[in-house]
């Protein structure tokens, strides 16, 4: 796997070149007053090439090669048929997989579909919970709006792993909630080791990302528009449906993007709150890379994930062509 590595000095040459380049651009901006303003984006352009595009190309390289570095499509066949590599190995060992009843395997595909379904549910719940919250916060008669935004950010400053583990101590069979139930003489409930608990953990982690963009687009709205609607005889429900809500759609679209994308590849949460009973795509990628130590298939899975995300991004772009809602805060 490392036979393709560059010599050690090469990385330093690249880094020095990069730094020198930024320096040159900076110097030329200082010296030459005719320099074009668009050149300011140059360091960033270079950064993107080095730390986003080249790493992505590396993923693509591993996805299309086998362990010895030759071109292959096997890694994608393994995505489609999770037993593909295993059957090949069995044949090498002199066992006919058909005798064992090993046919096409659905594990990878099922995991992807399950992850998409969970991400969809998570996004939906976040939207249903988050829209009213954003709406009430953006209400002009409510002075605490800005403070509340801060209150939504603060939980994100507690470590993500610890927050998830804290949920575990609430939901366990002998956890706080069940202890409370038992103290009140009620029967204990099964609250974790299942998909619902995973969903709860996801909603908990991603809800703020739905609230911010919606709040942003709602609070930017020209209040006179809804006032005009009211003056023209619309009641508050109609005003909301015909004026306020359509104008907040860019925020909704960007909220959906910001929740759905990370949801699909959630990992750690299924392990802690779901008891590892069902994997999500993030877990699958991690397991393939680290525990199974299979960088080629892991890269293929990552690449498929990326392509799916780029497709959905393009679709969402059509719904929000100006990218208006994406100002986050």
């Amino acid at each position: 796997m490392n036979n393709m590595a560059l010599p050690p000095w090469a990385s330093w040459v690249m880094l020095v070149g990069f730094m020198g380049f930024i320096g040159m651009v900076a110097v030329s901006i200082r010296r030459n007053r005719g320099v074009k303003r668009s050149l300011f984006a140059f360091p960033y352009g270079l950064w993107i090439v080095l730390f986003t595009l080249i790493p992505l190309l590396l993923i693509a390289y591993y996805a299309f090669t086998n362990k010895t570095g030759g071109f292959t499509l096997d890694n994608f066949k393994t995505f489609w048929d999770s037993n593909y590599e295993m059957r090949k190995q069995m044949l090498d060992l002199g066992v006919n997989p058909q005798d064992l009843g090993i046919a096409r395997g659905n594990v990878n595909l099922d995991t992807l579909l399950y992850s998409l379904w969970m991400a969809f549910l998570c996004t939906l719940i976040c939207l249903v919970m988050g829209y009213p919250a954003a709406l009430f916060m953006a209400d002009r008669s409510f002075k605490l709006g800005a403070t509340l935004v801060v209150l939504f950010i603060i939980p994100m400053w507690m470590n993500f792993l610890l927050r998830t583990i804290a949920w575990m101590s609430l939901l366990e069979d002998n956890g706080l909630i069940n202890t409370l139930l038992a103290a009140m003489g009620l029967p204990k409930m099964r609250l974790m080791y299942n998909s619902q608990a995973v969903l709860l953990g996801m909603v908990y982690n991603y809800l703020p990302f739905m609230v911010f963009p919606i709040y942003n687009s709602l609070s930017k709205q020209d209040r006179r528009l809804s006032e005009a609607a009211m003056d023209l005889g619309a009641n508050s429900a109609l005003t909301f449906l015909r004026v306020t809500m359509p104008l907040s759609l860019p925020g909704v679209v960007s909220g959906i993007t910001m929740v759905f994308m990370p949801s699909v590849t959630t990992f750690f949460i299924p392990r802690v709150l779901g008891g590892g009973n069902t994997e999500m795509f993030g877990d699958l990628i991690e397991r393939t890379f680290l525990s199974a130590d299979n960088w080629n298939v892991g890269s293929a899975l990552s690449l498929i994930m990326m392509v799916l995300i780029l497709i959905s991004l393009t679709l969402l772009r059509k719904a929000d062509p100006e990218g208006e809602g994406s100002g986050t805060l």
Partner: protein
């Protein structure tokens, strides 16, 4: 809908967000290690916290990386936004799409792709690579915070300043920067927050020698998570809360006067 119901709803949502955090803080004062059983009030975890070199070191790494990454990303990102704003529609579109890639890339893919880059180029993974990774995922957020402010700005004021004899550097400092400052600050804060909370990308881009709080907590789980980590989170939480409320209060006071 009555005001009361609206506020009640907001209170419920906030309660949902804060319950686990309250649990964490309460656990940090528990005399025992158990997560569910209260064994009396104690400050022992706080004491242990300050006596643990590995936690203190991880805290130092987390905070310095978050500060450095936010600073570097803010400079590069602000410059990039200014540059992109001046571009014609097509290159700007290309740059915006490129900016969206790291933002929408799943953390795990970002982390793994950077790990492959560092292994491929034989850059030893550690503090420096983790910093590079954090800057990488922060820049797009800075750009997206600054861009809207640039759009609100008068297009010709920069050119006007140049025509009046200002150097580009001077015009940048005196004309552009002041009007985009709120966006720059938002971007910096957002970067700092993201950096502080990141686990996945750090996990893949650092070496075992350099652990931030997230990777330390992850590897500590092997022996059972001790409430020392809760104690640390509780302290950080209170410190940041006080800081934020102070800033907020100052801002609102300034606004009123």
């Amino acid at each position: 809908m009555s005001k009361f119901m609206k506020r009640g709803y907001l209170a419920l949502v906030l309660l949902f967000l804060y319950v686990p955090i309250i649990v964490l803080i309460v656990q940090s004062f528990n005399a025992g290690v158990s997560r569910a059983k209260w064994e009396g009030f104690s400050l022992q975890w706080y004491e242990r916290l300050f006596n643990s070199p590995s936690i203190m070191n991880a805290l130092y790494i987390t905070v310095t990386i978050a500060l450095l990454a936010a600073a570097i990303a803010t400079v590069i990102g602000t410059l990039a936004a200014i540059g992109m704003h001046a571009m014609s529609k097509r290159p700007q579109g290309v740059m915006l799409t490129l900016t969206n890639i790291p933002m929408t890339m799943p953390d795990i893919v970002t982390g793994i792709s950077l790990m492959l880059l560092f292994i491929f180029t034989q850059v030893p993974r550690g503090y420096f690579t983790m910093l590079l990774a954090h800057v990488t995922f922060n820049i797009p957020y800075v750009i997206l915070s600054v861009m809207p402010k640039l759009k609100q700005m008068n297009k010709f004021s920069y050119e006007a300043a140049l025509d009046l004899g200002a150097t580009p550097g001077y015009a940048l400092r005196r004309v552009i920067l002041p009007s985009v400052m709120p966006g720059v600050i938002t971007g910096a804060l957002l970067s700092f927050t993201l950096s502080l909370d990141d686990f996945t990308i750090s996990y893949f881009t650092t070496s075992p020698l350099v652990q931030n709080l997230s990777t330390l907590i992850y590897s500590e789980a092997r022996k059972g998570i001790k409430p020392t980590m809760n104690a640390l989170s509780a302290l950080m939480f209170v410190a940041l809360l006080v800081l934020l409320l102070a800033v907020n209060r100052r801002a609102s006071l300034a606004h009123e006067s």
